[in-house]
């Protein structure tokens, strides 16, 4: 079962929930945690994994053989990202815009395009106290996260529980992270910005057709609008974590909720059971 954890607004508590869920479940089942926030991975700060393995993360960019190229321009036309310009004497490739889709090399009638690998970061993995841990990190200056997120997700185990910590936002990197998961947990906070971005995230998840539920973090006041929204949309609020300085203090020292306050492990187990129930129910519905 693959559970992704997204939010819309940044800083709502995705990593707190992801790491706490992993810690709470690890003794009962095989748990794997993937940190797909490749621009700023942070789960390792809390789980302190032994990252003994690594591989380079690359994106395939086109290299055009000018001898074979007849300037027909098919590659530039098919490129959705304007990464190839056909100029009078030669084609010009803008590798910084290339998303590595492979369309240009596939379609070139002269077979003039080969794909070369461009390094954009690295993927590391190892053990974190009984949790299988994987994360990816983009090199500074690189703008494109989806290729490295795809590479991190190649490490997903076929069995057990897979928890994926997504980047903030609702665009390409998050879609790449969330797609293919059985359930998406949306972490929100009771503020106008939190609600605004939650609505965007819900739209994204619905677009992917993934079942979802909400975790309300820093609850305690001002959550009426969020709860109203969830009720109107038919989205269950599966867990509520209060605004508590003690939690924040612990977190700022690199100690996640389920570790510093172990009584919360029960709440996260209940959360997991609710998710399983919802996923099973959905499977039953589609079978009918």
């Amino acid at each position: 079962m693959i559970i992704s954890i997204a939010s819309g607004k940044g800083g709502t508590g995705k990593t707190l929930v992801a790491t706490s869920l992993a810690v709470s479940l690890k003794n009962k089942q095989k748990v794997q945690l993937l940190d797909c926030d490749a621009e700023e991975p942070n789960d390792h700060i809390f789980l302190k994994p032994d990252l003994g393995n690594s591989e380079a993360a690359c994106i395939a960019v086109p290299e055009i053989d000018n001898e074979k190229c007849n300037l027909c321009g098919k590659c530039a036309k098919v490129c959705a990202f304007n990464a190839i310009a056909i100029l009078p004497q030669q084609p010009l490739v803008f590798t910084n815009l290339c998303h590595g889709c492979g369309a240009c090399s596939y379609l070139c009638p002269q077979k003039a395009i080969t794909e070369t690998k461009r390094g954009i970061g690295f993927v590391e993995w190892g053990q974190a106290g009984g949790i299988d841990f994987v994360h990816g990190k983009l090199d500074i200056g690189e703008a494109m996260a989806p290729p490295i997120i795809r590479q991190v997700k190649q490490h997903i185990y076929k069995d057990g529980i897979v928890i994926i910590d997504a980047p903030p936002g609702t665009s390409c990197p998050v879609v790449e992270t969330v797609k293919g998961s059985h359930f998406c947990l949306l972490v929100t906070e009771p503020t106008p910005f939190g609600l605004n971005d939650l609505a965007l995230a819900v739209e994204m998840v619905k677009g992917l057709g993934t079942a979802c539920g909400v975790v309300l973090n820093r609850a305690g006041s001002g959550e009426e609008k969020v709860l109203e929204y969830c009720q109107n949309e038919g989205i269950p609020v599966l867990l509520s974590i209060p605004l508590d300085t003690a939690i924040a203090r612990m977190y700022s020292r690199g100690i996640t909720l389920a570790e510093g306050l172990p009584q919360w492990q029960q709440d996260f187990n209940v959360l997991f059971n609710k998710i399983t129930e919802m996923v099973d129910e959905r499977n039953r519905c589609t079978e009918r």
């Binding site: 530039a76 490129c79 990202f81 304007n82 990464a83 190839i84 310009a85 056909i86 100029l87 009078p88 004497q89 030669q90 010009l92 803008f94 910084n96 815009l97």
Partner: protein
């Protein structure tokens, strides 16, 4: 030789559009005869690579130089590779810009004058 000027609307009386990649229109004009035509730019709706696609479009117009406010790194690279002079820092009325060009008051830029994505709002 024809030149291309970024324009906020498709008329000679218009103001110079300060952006290259995402400008609204181009005025393609022969400064000697003042014969001109206007071109709508698809750049504003491009999700990315607007500088590259706009440069490629301009390359097909057979102009000697581009006059604009700002030109980013990808556009500059594409235009330069095509042998088109890039003149940045141009503003105000298009007709004034043409006069200044004819009077030789402009120097071609030797590098882009803004970073990538400066024209996005």
């Amino acid at each position: 030789m024809k030149i291309a000027i970024t324009a906020s609307s498709p008329k000679l009386e218009a103001e110079v559009d300060p952006r290259f990649g995402r400008c609204q229109y181009f005025i393609i004009i022969d400064p000697e005869t003042m014969q001109f035509e206007s071109l709508e730019n698809a750049g504003p709706s491009a999700s990315e690579g607007a500088g590259v696609s706009t440069a490629q479009m301009i390359n097909g117009e057979g102009v000697d130089a581009v006059l604009t406010g700002n030109c980013g790194p990808n556009a500059y690279q594409a235009l330069s590779a095509a042998g088109i002079k890039v003149i940045t820092g141009v503003s105000g009325k298009i007709t004034d810009a043409v006069e200044n060009y004819k009077a030789g008051k402009f120097q071609p830029a030797d590098q882009p004058n803004v970073n990538a994505h400066s024209g996005m709002n």
